[in-house]
Amino acid sequence: MALTLAAAEWGGEFEGTLDPITSLFEFAPLPAFEDLALFGVDLWINRTILIAWFMTLVAMTLLVAATRNPQVVPGKLQSLVEMLVDFIRGLASDIIGTKGARYVPLLTTFFVFILFMNLAKLTPFLMLPPTSRIAFPLFLALIAWGVYVGAGIKEQGFVHYFKELAFPPGVPKALYVLLTPIELLSNLVLRPFTLMLRLFANMVAGHILVVITLVAIHVFLPSFPAGSLVGVFALVAAPLVFGFELLIIGLQAYIFTMLAAVYIASSVEPAH
């Protein structure tokens, strides 16, 4: 597929190697910031960062505009944001229980941040989700990890929390040989890892899908009559792909928030 696309773009003949798929995601830094570094880590301001800043600004503007001057009878924007907060509050109280109210601000931040970062995937002129770079999901997952481990230590005490984690009660003693490494690995390593990977992989796959659909339209539709059938197919498929991606965007934000809440709940209320 990729080779055919490249050949068509090239004018029928294609020689040489293809760009690796990462070239869809990696961008050069703005010229002014090429030398910017902190402790040997490059602080490049590139397209991804600019998109992230822009989407953050949009989210902040919307939230501030909705809540700065609250009315008793809410307007359209205010009722939308109230619905969102209500939704997260319901999720927190459903999953975490009575102690959930404390985590509503964090969960709302997760949801709004991920939703807006993902929405950049389908925003015209941006068309790149910053969450498809590993740093964003990585630090989101690290925050979630820190919060649920911290909540466990705070609610149950350091020793008790790790004892419950490593030696879940109600299991025959001999099984601990098997169970303890698995439990420790799954609770402390695999949870944040899959949390990160789920968001990251979904966004990467979605971005590649959108790019392939749009490039197929761009390349095949004008090449009459050789590949115009593929072009027409891509043209018909594009709205469906966009709709599907919109579903994925909302679903990933929701799943990340919900799983963070589930992990916090497992720390706040020890397993029975």
């Binding site: 459903d94 899959t194 990977l197 789920r198 992989a201 919900m258 799983l259 589930v262």
Partner: protein
């Protein structure tokens, strides 16, 4: 040949989770239809299950590019 391997890694990695997701969502719909008043709880639990099952397929997706 290398690309073929990448494709195979992801393709094979989706087999198990695909079957798992089918069973999981099917059972969830079944229980929702049987007891509509428990739909909210079933849906939440279903999403947690989906998230766990899906992780395997995503691992395959990442490994396909990493290898």
């Amino acid at each position: 040949m290398e690309n073929l391997g990448n494709g195979l890694v992801f393709g094979l990695a989706t087999l198990g989770p695909g079957i798992g997701l089918g069973i999981l969502i099917g059972k969830a719909i079944e229980s929702m239809a049987r007891q509509p008043e428990a739909a909210g709880m079933v849906r939440t639990t279903m999403f947690i299950g989906i998230a766990v099952v899906e992780a395997l397929a995503l691992l395959g997706f990442v490994l396909a590019f990493a290898i």
